[in-house]
Amino acid sequence: MTATLLAERSWRSASAIRVAGLVVAATYAVFIVWVYAAQPRTLREVRGGVAASIGVYRIDAAAFDEGLRYFRTDRFAEARRAFARADPAQRDARTQYYIAYAFLREGWGRVYSDDALYRQADVALQRAQAATSDGVVRVDDPELTLKTSDEMAEALARGLRRDASDLNPLSMLEKRP
């Protein structure tokens, strides 16, 4: 009787260990697949990505506000630094959108646009879109002309395109995005 009880308890214990092992190993395997798919470039991005995937990622609000102040006074390089500090894992759609906007505004000119800065804006915009579930970023800021990622993507594509409209002198009268 005692031997049967011991055997039963041992079997249950072994099953519990196996179930726990499978859960831990499967979770670890999912993490590895995520790492190879997401390609984080730094340990901060790894941490941020894991935090974002379980819904506990938070940006540094003070650094974000600082970035916003720089952005509104056209100090774009400083703004990008502050935004990067606010969102080190590059997982927050709104912050990445502002980084893209900072590149866009810095690259925008009445006569020509800076292609290098526009491309960097495009990369940041893609990060912003990747951080949302539906791939669209909407920012309700009255100071921004382009309030969605679709509008910004089109503005960037227009800026990078080479065609006859580049020679239109009326384009010099366009408003800054």
Binding site: S10, I17, A20, G21, L22, V24, A25, Y28, P40, V46
Partner: protein, 239 residues
């Protein structure tokens, strides 16, 4: 708890946690590349690394270092078989990543390494050494690949003139590298690969092999290599 029961629980822990986590860690770290600036990249294994991984697992099986029947025999429960399947999947992933980590990523050196791996594994499969010899052989093969990739080639193609580079250049005096291109991995990658290699080899050494504990002694046991072992002395006594 009796000693047998303790041993059984330890074996379950080993299968459920130790082996999968060791091999999954090797799979994760085997693809990690760290550049000189500290940037990370996680590189999936190329197709040829998968072929080499299959050959490595075949060699482990043929030489008795890994016995899949220990993980999948009919007496085991479904959960136990699932644990076994996790070990096999993790082992395959780790083996592929190890082969990729120890092989240059592109160019003529990659081709040369791949051919050498193919010949070595083919030779191992044909020679069918026993488990101990296979493990020693793997240690030497992995160690040699590590030294060539990370120390010799790394030094030869390093942007700065290190002591190793000067020594190697002195040894191969008169030989020019010409247009033979190679991008040395960042120094930190070498340390990670070294640790990963040791972890992988430790995992291989800990794989289930030989007869199952408590399965009872066979009168005559045939092991791979057609060697007949007679462990029961009753046979010697003619009983």
């Amino acid at each position: 708890m009796t000693a047998d029961a303790r041993g059984a629980v330890r074996s379950v822990w080993h299968e459920a946690f130790t082996l999968p986590l060791v091999f999954l860690s090797a799979a994760l770290l085997g693809g990690l590349r760290i550049d000189a600036g500290g940037g990370l990249a996680f590189v999936p294994p190329p197709l040829f690394a998968l072929v080499l991984a299959v050959m490595l697992i075949a060699a482990l099986y043929r030489c008795g270092a890994f016995d899949p029947t220990r993980l999948f025999h009919p007496r085991r429960t479904g959960l136990a078989k699932a644990s076994g399947a996790m070990i096999v999947v993790a082992l395959a992933a780790a083996a592929a990543q190890m082969m990729a980590a120890l092989t240059p990523e592109e160019g003529l050196f990659a081709l040369a390494f791949d051919i050498v791996w193919l010949v070595l594994f083919g030779n191992t499969l044909a020679a069918r050494p026993n488990r101990a010899r296979l493990l020693s052989s793997l240690l030497v093969m992995f160690g040699a690949a590590f030294v060539v990739k990370f120390i010799l080639l790394g030094a030869l193609y390093a942007p700065d003139a290190s002591v190793t580079k000067r020594v190697v250049m002195a040894l191969v005096e008169g030989v020019s590298l010409g247009t033979l291109g190679y991008s040395p991995p960042g120094p930190a990658t070498g340390y990670v690969t070294f640790a990963t290699g040791l972890l992988f080899l430790a995992g291989i050494a800990a794989l289930p092999h030989g007869p199952e504990p408590g399965a009872g002694d066979a009168l005559v046991r045939v092991v791979p290599g057609d060697v007949v072992v007679v462990p029961d002395q009753r046979l010697d006594r003619g009983l």
